[in-house]
Assembly symmetry: D2
Homo-oligomer: 324 residues x 4
């Protein structure tokens, strides 16, 4: 049937919990608040957890961030601070170690351009440490940053490009930034997920791709993602589920109609979705109308969170001196 999936561990958890009343085996969940940001930590600790969540072992931190406009600089800075702290909690770097930031996604497709936009706003210092070491504070960490493009643009697996660069640059850590998809419209551009188990570029599209992870690159890989779209088929599917659930509530338990509703299967639902969304249309997404502006400001928030995590010796206003 239509590819109904989620990139978010917090949604995988909700899907599991909707189906089963038990707690998820092999998964630990913690919740806390940092200023106006709600943090949910989902730890997949063993194979049971991997299977239940359909995600690899590791820590997944989700930030529920407050609304902000592109000019609400105080809120943006506050979210960057919380994000910086959260990323710091899952990395372990000496100050001399090098980090490489990788902006995944297609810069020609606005809701997929988050990664490249973040890369354009991070503090890049590796060349300064090499070329003009005397002019650079010794506490500043060497950081490089690349946006490798996507397979359809380069003809090359993103994993190959990054592996080639990592072998030359030899960083101690990779931070990948990518646009994700969510199941719920109210999470779009309102959630940041930080994960320790890497990422598979373009994994949602169906092809098996080389993942970027500690296993493939030999160094820790942190993934930072924001859901920027909901798949239109997901929206239709969820709408249908909701209507059916509503009908079930209203029909007599054990009655004929109740039984019919209960027996509707994926095949039936697929036919309904196809009546609403022409499957030949390809990638139909649900997104805020002003997505161009939203991606601009959220990418600034992410970039500054990463800057703070990688440069603990600097404050946000000092970081701005190094940007251009």
């Amino acid at each position: 049937m239509f590819n109904i999936r989620t990139d978010l561990a917090i949604e995988a958890k909700e899907i599991y919990e909707n189906k089963s009343k038990n707690t998820i085996p092999g998964v630990e969940v913690y919740k806390y608040k940092e200023n106006d940001v709600k943090v949910t930590e989902v730890k997949i600790v063993n194979c049971d957890g991997e299977e239940a969540m359909k995600k690899p072992k590791g820590t997944y931190l989700t930030l529920d961030i407050p609304e902000f406009t592109p000019y609400d600089l105080n809120t943006m800075d506050e979210v960057s601070e919380v994000l910086g702290k959260t990323i710091s909690s899952v990395i372990n770097l000496d100050k001399s170690m090098t980090a490489l930031i990788v902006g995944l996604g297609n810069w020609n497709v606005t809701p997929d351009a988050l990664g490249p936009k973040v890369v354009s706003k991070v503090m890049v210092t590796r060349h300064l440490k090499e070329l003009v070491p005397d002019q650079i504070d010794e506490n500043i960490r060497p950081v490089g940053a690349v946006s490798p493009g996507v397979l359809g643009i380069t003809g090359i697996e993103t994993g190959e490009i990054i592996k080639g660069i990592v072998e030359k640059v030899k960083p101690n850590l990779v931070i990948c930034v990518d646009a994700l998809s969510s199941r719920k419209t109210d999470r779009v551009n309102k959630t940041i997920q930080i994960g320790t188990s890497g990422i598979s570029p373009g994994s949602g599209i169906g092809n098996k791709r080389m993942e970027l992870s500690e296993k493939t690159l030999g160094i820790p890989v942190i993934a930072v993602g924001v859901p920027t779209v909901v798949d239109a088929a997901t929206l239709a599917n969820d709408t249908i589920d909701m209507v059916i659930d509503d009908m079930i509530d209203k029909s007599q338990k054990g009655g004929k109609f109740y039984t019919m509703l209960k027996s509707l299967d994926d095949e039936d639902k697929l036919k309904m979705i196809q009546e609403v969304i022409d499957p030949r249309l390809g990638n139909i997404i649900v997104t805020p109308k002003e997505v161009d502006m939203v991606i601009d400001s959220i990418s600034k928030v992410i970039a500054n969170g990463i800057n703070l995590a990688l440069q603990p010796a600097l404050k946000l206003n000092e970081i701005e001196r190094y940007l251009n």
Copy 2:
């Protein structure tokens, strides 16, 4: 309830026909084919038609265009030729008369930027006819073109700006180009509507705005529109309707459940939609992922259709000499 509406006469007709088995009073429909383009002509001829269709009297021509990629120049040119012919059929201009092309919409919001993009690609000649008349073929019509922006950007009603410019420039015809919304995902970027009864900029958003029409401007106003989005609430609404219809088909006529389904009203449906789409989110739209590229190529098709209609003395390859 959510604003479920359509900009397309062809959809208004379908909605009417779904509710009633009768032909629509005061409305004439003709269908024909030009090359690979299906043309549907909907004529609203009197007040009955206006009321049934919720649109002003006039002729609405809808082109169903074949799929094309940005490099499929032959198909693009062919659609431009059909569009040019269709626009010509509803305008009536001497060769010396001046036309003003108005690109409505917000250039910062990709799916709303169709109008300004078309304006950037049309053949503008009015200044050449005035400043260097000897260098310009006498058969070339004077054409001006403006993109007035939207109320939120300028602080001024678009109708006021255009009325002010029309009073100075004194054209004999206005052609407005605007992005529309459709009820169906398979019409998005696949349909062009040409109408003779003008347009109300931003009319869908709920405010009463000054319309651009022969009544307000004193000269004929042709509206050219392409649906570039489906409202997410519309998609959810249509999905719910479809599920309910499906249930009704499957339940026993006159039975308890049948009666319950039949009695579901807009209030109930609104509650369901709100469960899927957070109404605080504002404008959530459904659009192809590659909307940036699609708008680029469809705006070229529209621009050349307008160029051909306004410059009957020129062929498409001659028109390209005047563009830059």
Copy 3:
């Protein structure tokens, strides 16, 4: 000969003073400093001044601003404050009066896009005062903003478009923003000129255009400009003059060579310039390599200066709440 000209009153003054040792008749000059910004006020008070300066009567204030990078927010805010104060000193508005901001220039040509970029960053309130008066502080002035484009894009004189809009909107003040050209590379993007005598869009290009001024629009017109380029022919001309002056200094007064140098006329110099710059090339300009980024940040400074001048009830951080 090549069109060697200046948009800056301060340069017109220098040119006059270089030719003549006398003070300029009909012109008053005052200099002072605001924080790190040097302000020069040139007042052309009568016809003698107009002829000497080749500029209309009025006040021309020039700000020499310190260097800043796009992330040096403190310096940018400081310059905005001085600019706001300077604009305030030449306007005279009640708080209820309406202002219209006009961004002149071609948005497709980076160094000419200053005006439209400023318009995209100003605080637009006129529609809010009309549509949702209860939600808007009564101290907030109604402001509209338009970027009319250039003659080659619209086919319509910019003056006509603005006059048409002014007649509909009936503002009490127009502020025009435009990119200028300078004679000196060290003034490029380092100087802001505020003038009270209006502006002629595209005046440099040689055609007689309808000026935007109190005379043509019937309300005060303030012009804010920044030199963003030096004409390449101007650079070559100035280089030649400098070499010749240097030669004259080194040659024996009254000697044969001295006489020859003194007798070089514009014809001779034109031939030299044409050897360096092919006159068929059209507009060859001298500009910083990073002009795209420089225009972005200087337009933010100008927009905020205008915002402060028009909204005396608000501080800069309050203004940001109204922007998007």
Copy 4:
């Protein structure tokens, strides 16, 4: 002194010939015409040639192309055909061999964005040959394409990034595309140079960088470049030289002034240049005002020339089917 240099072999040859009346040792020159394109082939055949030309051994082909506007598709196609033929003459590939196209330069700086713009317009097929080999004509060559960015953006030497990617992708040929600088304004955007001896990214800026060449990458490297700017200091320097030469012609041979002019050295000239161009300003360039539009259309010409050279089985209109 100011860095007065040229990227063009044809200019290196002219500089040599201006200083010396002899033919250049170790250099062979051929001239011919293809349609409206003048081709000059400069072959540096030995070390004498390398020293005289200050360029590595190899073949440098220069195309002098006719003027064209962005809509003059016939001329653009014609130049693409000549370029395709010229590139074909210096490469030697079986049809199954893989090519990698590298777009050098900074996409944020318009006149430096030529390489990335070309990459966005080339036919990329390597992934199709791997993922859907049955859907792809067997005569189509696998081609990949990357834009690595510049040192200031990535913190990583461009040479390292490309070497890393080449080691993974193992292409048989690299084609690098870069924006160059010229000494003469009339060569800007009117000349294409094709060279067989590789390229040093950012070599003009003064730092020693890892070159991209057969020596460093182990496979043939073709460099395709277009001068898009003249350095402003070069323009000033050439203007000064020209004025001095003119003075020398006019002064009496052996006379006092003649001797003085002859004795002017680089130090003197540097002081003059600094009077015209403030050396603190950084990269001041001379460029056409419409550089944004010019780079767009010349990059299309280059991309199609490369497409034709790499896909000899296809015609230009067939190539367009593969682009998006």
